[in-house]
């Protein structure tokens, strides 16, 4: 497991949520949630169902507006960026339930991800680049097939390719292990670590697969009912009594 160097934190975290709050009617989805994601780390965001993890993603990607608080990326507020402008800053994401373009081919899906980096570029060069990314995520063989009808694991990889082709500095992965079998989860763990180590991409990971999160994350942040209940290195978080209570003990013990 790679060691994160927490002794000398960089001056500016890549992503910073500052007391972000969001209410839906009477439900508090996020209650003054703050966390800092340091560059070139894997940051695990966990919590029971309905804890506000995906809400946090949607706040960062500007699909939801915070009622109060701020979201800083590289020291600058994102609150005036439209949803389509977020990726231009260098933030790409995947979706929990896979949001693809079903009638378009796998290659075309990937090319849409390159939308912000393909202006005034030659079509052929962009296709070559997209094909390269498809090769990197291991689905080059289905490049010309329509996305609809491909296996779920492949769809998840198309989303990854679409996110990576935009040359992001931060990727938000929303339950990338959901619906994958044991071997696929193993491959995914290696893959996410390669994103950090080889491509120098920072990863914000929402995941229910506790074993995966605890194994590859440099830092784990735990939400419950929209509030932060723990934050720190995986080993510390696993021992936190509040976290154990939130998860009723079961899953975390299995992971440790």
């Amino acid at each position: 497991m790679p060691e994160s160097d927490d002794r000398v934190p960089p001056a500016v975290p890549l992503l910073s949520l500052q007391a972000a709050s969001l209410r839906f009617g009477g439900i508090v989805a996020l209650d003054e949630v703050s966390f800092d994601v340091q560059p070139h780390t894997i940051f695990g965001l966990i919590g029971p169902n309905g804890a506000g993890k995906t809400t946090a993603f949607n706040v960062i990607t500007r699909l939801y507006r915070v009622d109060s608080g701020d979201v800083l990326f590289d020291g600058r507020s994102l609150l005036h960026t439209p949803p389509s402008g977020v990726v231009r800053h260098g933030i790409a994401r995947t979706f929990q339930n896979v949001e693809l373009f079903p009638t378009m081919t796998v290659l075309e899906n990937t090319l849409v991800g390159a939308h912000t980096v393909s202006r005034f570029k030659r079509e052929g060069a962009m296709r070559a680049k997209a094909a390269e990314v498809l090769d990197y995520v291991g689905i080059a063989s289905v490049a010309k097939r329509p996305a609809a009808g491909l296996p779920f694991g492949t769809l998840k990889r198309i989303e990854l390719a679409r996110a990576l082709v935009s040359e992001p500095r931060l990727v938000l992965l929303d339950e990338p292990a959901g619906g994958l079998n044991h071997e696929e989860v193993e491959a995914l763990a290696t893959f996410i670590q390669r994103l950090r180590d080889d491509l120098k991409i920072t990863v914000l990971l929402v995941e229910h697969h506790m074993n995966l999160v605890m194994r590859i994350s440099d830092h784990v942040h735990v939400l419950n009912f929209g509030r932060t209940i723990a934050s720190g290195p995986p080993a510390d978080v696993q021992r936190d009594p509040q976290v154990i209570e939130a998860y009723l003990g079961g899953e975390l013990e299995a992971a440790s």
Binding site: T61, L63, P82, P83, S84, G85, V86, V87, R88, A92, R93, F95, E99, L100, F101, P102, T103, M104, E108, L111, V112, G113, H115, T116, S118, R119, E123, M126, I139, S141, V142, L150, P151, G153, T154, R162, S166
Partner: protein, 321 residues
């Protein structure tokens, strides 16, 4: 060049050849009909960019045709502008009108957008009645000169060819993919950096510009008369039917859609069904219903299905994970 591209260019060359040969062989009446088909082709092409590619339903394209048509008629009547020069003018006017409609339309989607555009189809063609002193009211207004069918056939099909190439250039790369991504998933499109307001409005503008040119030519084939009744709701519906028959999101099916709405009324007139004056409408409606049931994805969907069945027959489909 890929094999697919060669096949497509071949199909286009054959189609262009047929159009040219017919131009020398057809009777005067049929030249007029051929010109109408070219006009439907341009309008359906435009509607397809908006509805087929970008996923924004419009039942109001007759309104944009009316704006284009009246642009030509008014310019020709009052300023004796060369008819050919009124075409780019109609294009520009309708592009701006399309943008103007597209911006408020951003707040609507699905059936609500369909209803709003339907309201356009109902209301815009009635506007000339309001200023009937200038527009001739329900009698309409006539262009200063009205060209013959031979001229019309040529001009309409040249415009259709230009429109096809323009649509193809627009849709083949980054912009076309942005349009289609919005149709497939607005959420994923926005997250990929595709600005929904910009591309949806652009699709409206371009689509309306195509309809505007079609409207100009439409006035010319109706002996130069621009009349409110010519651009009624039925025209808007016909265009949508044509686009559906063509297959939403298919450029090549457009010619079939244009032939369908251009020729079907001719054919259904000759079917003696009920003996009433509206028998042809019944036949037209029945055929439309049949086509919708039998070809839910249009002609393009049918060709695609045949193609994939053919391919899976010659090689077993490898299931990849």
């Amino acid at each position: 060049m890929s094999r697919g591209l060669v096949t497509r260019l071949g199909v286009i060359a054959v189609a262009a050849g047929i159009v040219i040969v017919l131009g020398f062989r057809l009777s005067d009446y049929h030249l007029g009909l051929g010109a109408r088909i070219a006009i439907y082709f341009i309008a359906i092409l435009g509607l397809n960019i908006l509805t087929g590619y970008t996923g924004q339903i419009s039942i109001g394209h007759g309104a944009f045709m009316a704006i284009g048509g009246y642009t030509t008629a008014l310019m020709s009547y009052y300023h004796h502008t060369d008819l050919l020069l009124t075409l780019p003018l109609a294009l520009a006017v309708c592009f701006v009108c399309g943008l103007a409609v597209g911006i408020p339309a951003l707040r609507l989607s699905g059936v609500y957008l369909a209803l709003a555009t339907f309201a356009l189809a109902v209301s815009i063609p009635q506007l000339p009645l309001k200023w009937s002193k200038w527009t001739g009211g329900s009698n309409g207004i006539r262009t200063f000169t009205s060209p013959g069918n031979n001229w019309l056939y040529r001009v309409c099909w040249i415009c259709a060819g230009i429109a096809f190439v323009a649509a193809w250039l627009l849709l083949r790369g980054r912009t076309g993919r942005a349009f289609r991504s919005i149709r497939d998933s607005e959420l994923a499109a926005a997250s990929s950096g595709v600005s929904l307001p910009i591309y949806k409005t652009l699709a409206f503008g371009v689509s309306a510009a195509f309809a505007g040119v079609a409207g100009s030519l439409f006035v010319l084939v109706t002996n130069g008369y621009a009349q409110p009744n010519e651009f009624g709701v039925l025209l808007s519906l016909q265009l949508l039917i044509g686009a559906a028959v063509a297959g939403l999101g298919s450029l090549y099916g457009t010619i079939v859609g244009a032939l369908f709405i251009g020729l079907l009324p001719q054919i259904s007139t000759s079917v003696p069904l009920i003996g009433s004056g509206h028998g042809q409408d019944v036949v037209f409606g029945l055929i439309v219903i049949l086509v919708m049931i039998l070809l839910p994805n249009g002609v393009a969907g049918l060709l695609g299905a045949i193609d994939s069945r053919f391919k899976s027959a010659i090689k077993s489909d490898p299931t990849t994970s």
